[in-house]
Symmetry: C2
Subunit: 348 residues, 2 copies
């Protein structure tokens, strides 16, 4: 499982943003992130195992720097730029975690960062971007307005676009979460007669960066590991795209999971069509109930988006019965002032 884990960044192939990342690229990203990203813990809960009827392994990326897995992809992209690209700085559009993560990665490398932020972005996420020293450019909520503002900033600055998900360097970085999870579970050393350390890995599905990286890792390490995405019913474009074989765009998402409102990009769609085994849908009430369970049993602050995979496992218990199930807890950037309203969606 660690075949090429001793590769070093210097040996890494130079990923272009529209390449399809391989397991080797994800190992390269993992080497690049040593000392930059936290090695987040894998947490377990006997009471949640009993509820779910399977063995759950939670990869606590809410404890990642800047509060979400997004730092992995952002830092991999920023630290793989050549000196000339770095000197021009980077640009992105983001309503949240990716913007804060990219801002932090740029601050660490000492380069300029501009984030195009829609008016609708949660206050807490906007503050995190500003706290890390990035320039914020406001724009409208519609995708066309975001794209227009981003294109304008790119033209003005000559900077490098680091797309939140439709970028091979970002996908490779996000994949390091699943890689690290599988390595950590394997190191715990419960031998399983030649079977892989986990039977299945789940991640939430939005634009598909995390899920693409997760799926490439699962299938690259052992084709028997299932890679399953979880998505809100009110933002089921990913599910419908992968079921129909046609990438669906232009829908309006309706879900409290504000991190899961994006639609697949051409690159992530192409990767997931090949490597993602299934997409499970859950309601917002199921998501909030799962979020409460994580708060209550794992003592972790997670945002609603982050609870969607657990909600999917609890809804489809028969699909996971008795199995070893990895879940990427994607982020913890919840607005504490919005909590009372959120909790009211699924009372105890």
């Amino acid at each position: 499982m660690h075949a090429d884990s001793d590769s070093v960044p210097g040996d890494a192939r130079r990923l272009r943003h529209d390449d399809r990342p391989t397991l080797g690229d994800i190992h390269d990203a993992a080497a690049r992130l040593v000392g930059l990203a936290h090695v987040t813990p894998v947490l377990r809960s006997r009471s949640l195992d009993a509820l779910a009827g399977c063995e759950l392994f939670f990869k606590a990326e809410n404890l990642q720097r800047a509060g979400a897995f997004k730092f992995r992809g952002a830092a991999n992209a920023v630290f793989s730029l050549g000196p000339d690209e770095a000197a021009r700085g980077v640009v992105t559009q983001s309503s949240g975690n990716h913007g804060a993560a990219l801002a932090l990665a740029c601050r660490l490398r000492g380069i300029r960062c501009t984030v195009v932020v829609p008016h609708s972005a949660p206050r807490i996420k906007r503050e995190a971007i500003a706290r890390n020293g990035a320039r914020i450019v406001d724009c409208g909520v519609a995708q066309a307005e975001r794209n227009e503002a981003t294109a304008r900033v790119l033209a003005e600055t000559g900077g490098e676009l680091v797309h939140p998900f439709n970028d091979a360097r970002v996908i490779a970085g996000q994949g390091t979460a699943a890689l690290e999870l599988l390595q950590q579970v394997e190191r715990r050393g419960q031998a399983r007669d030649g079977r892989p350390a986990l039977d299945v890995v789940l991640a939430p599905l939005s634009g598909g960066g995390l899920m693409s990286g997760t799926a490439v890792v699962a299938k690259g390490l052992d084709t028997r590991i299932r890679a399953i995405a979880a998505e809100p019913e009110g933002a089921s474009d990913g599910h419908d795209s992968l079921k129909s074989g046609t990438r669906i765009t232009g829908r309006t998402a309706d879900t409290i999971s504000d991190g899961l409102r994006a639609e697949l990009g051409p690159l992530t769609f192409s990767i997931l069509r090949d490597h993602c085994d299934d997409v499970l849908l859950v309601s917002d009430a199921e998501t909030v109930a799962a979020m409460r369970l994580v708060w209550d049993r794992l003592k972790l602050v997670i945002e609603p988006s982050c609870a969607v995979p657990l909600a999917a496992v609890l809804k489809h218990r028969d699909r996971f019965a008795g199995q070893r199930v990895g879940l990427i807890l994607s982020g913890g950037n919840v607005d504490l002032d919005a909590l009372p309203a959120l909790l009211a969606l699924a009372p105890a």
Copy 2:
């Protein structure tokens, strides 16, 4: 620092409940807890370091089994009982985390457990006791009523009392949290020219079990490590007892930190008088503000009691400037339904 860490439970001296535990007893407890208690992570936050003006190392005992450090002491007591004592079962009085922790420890050893619970105990803590299979005996809130009910149950069952804090076996178990913290920080290997891994360790002060174990570890490992307690202003009996040299009893506590309303026992008072360097007091609003920071920056669910040491560090920044400061995050058993009212005490 690991001088006798290879001692095994079989070699351990048999602690009586009214002994004064030594560092050796705490090493014995640590050996006994291997495979029973979680090795909880030590978490850091650059933004909290910047706010506090020092280096903070958070020992996340809210991720301990049963959601609090209390499991360490309870399991050490339960698993050091002889077979005859074990057969008669154990009894305690608790409004919360100790009861749930003792219930879990007894379930793991397969022995009977009875917990005397005052009517005022939070619902979430009562449920955790019941979930772990202990028998609950209700009683009034006054200490005299609790004592009377406990004495009655002890007489009826012939069971062994495992006091929540005034018990050497419990204190030795609680001390393993600080021991583990210091070992973990030391293993991270930032050498400091012969200075100890941390300059100071803080824990919340209630009945004094955790703080006594913490202080014995600090002073036992290196007398230069300061052991500082933090206590709510509305439950300052510990502070006043240690300042006056006389153990104060019979006061009524007035604080939202429901885990910190107990008063010192004779054993913990005696230990702290010798080994605790200072007690810092904080208001409830300061506690809730610190709790919000931990939720927001560390992404951990902690209960108010647990935030008291961080509140003390932020209030007395000059006392800790530039130092390496360990904080025991004691527990995460907050009632999610009570959150809105709690957060309103210290708006963002």
